[in-house]
Symmetry: D2
Subunit: 91 residues, 4 copies
């Protein structure tokens, strides 16, 4: 998950960028960088992680609700699953 090739590619590109940002931060710290630019790099990573979380959640919603449910029970189960995820990660 996410299962469509384009979404998987997009999410993987985001994760690799975050890994690259962590590596750049590691090098900056090893080189004794100043506090202000280090905090800026950390804030950029934080923004990228939030963007990744949103992208994965959006992909999940598209996959979950993109096809009609087979029954009312299945529909309710899907709603319960997605609202639980929103509750866990939006708070």
């Amino acid at each position: 998950m996410p299962h469509s090739p384009e979404e998987k590619k997009r999410v993987l590109a985001r994760v690799r960028r975050i890994r690259g940002q962590a590596e750049a931060l590691e090098r900056a710290l090893e080189a004794g960088a100043d506090c202000a630019p280090v905090l800026q790099q950390i804030a950029a990573i934080r923004g990228a992680v939030n963007g990744l979380m949103s992208e994965v959640m959006e992909a999940h919603i598209r996959e979950t609700f993109g096809q009609a449910a087979g029954s009312a029970d299945q529909r309710q189960a899907r709603v319960a699953e997605v609202t639980a995820l929103v509750r866990s990660y939006l708070k």
Copy 2:
């Protein structure tokens, strides 16, 4: 929105609690309270606001996807609307 009487009641109770917390904070500041407990009160309000946002988003997902869509187009429009909200408020 949210439209079910129980959800509306629950959301309104949360908003009134936040208003009450803001009033208590105002009194504490007027009385010259110390910084540490003031920050604690502010953090409690922040938590309550996040909980409220999650509750409203969950109610919206329940209402949007709780009934079968009338057509594939309507289904896609619902998915697009909810993912846009998640993107705006999860990031």
Copy 3:
């Protein structure tokens, strides 16, 4: 805290604005407002609460470190107190 009259005034103005935003949100919910503008109002409150937390923390840092410490022990105690607050509320 904060103790200077200007800072106290500024912080109180922020708290009153938050209270006003909560009241406006309560009215919108009672009037049955749509989900999207309601979430926007909640996000605005969240931004205002974060701004308030920052303002109080900044005022506390100004007050704590604005005057020279009387001793090395007092200096270390001040540093320990402020870093503990940053740890609690930045995470």
Copy 4:
């Protein structure tokens, strides 16, 4: 920055852990992991990034205010610098 060997070591260990978490997430996504555990991994990274930001900020406060300022001007400049960082990253 941070300059003490212990703090530098601690901060670097946190950054390397974040890099490792990003690598594990990359592998999970390549292996087609489910959405719920993927979101959990992302939330863990978010927590680790927030912890890192707090650690760097605390180290900076310790270094900035751990020694007496040489003059009132220097003291005020330090306070202005740290409050600006708090404002940028607490909000």
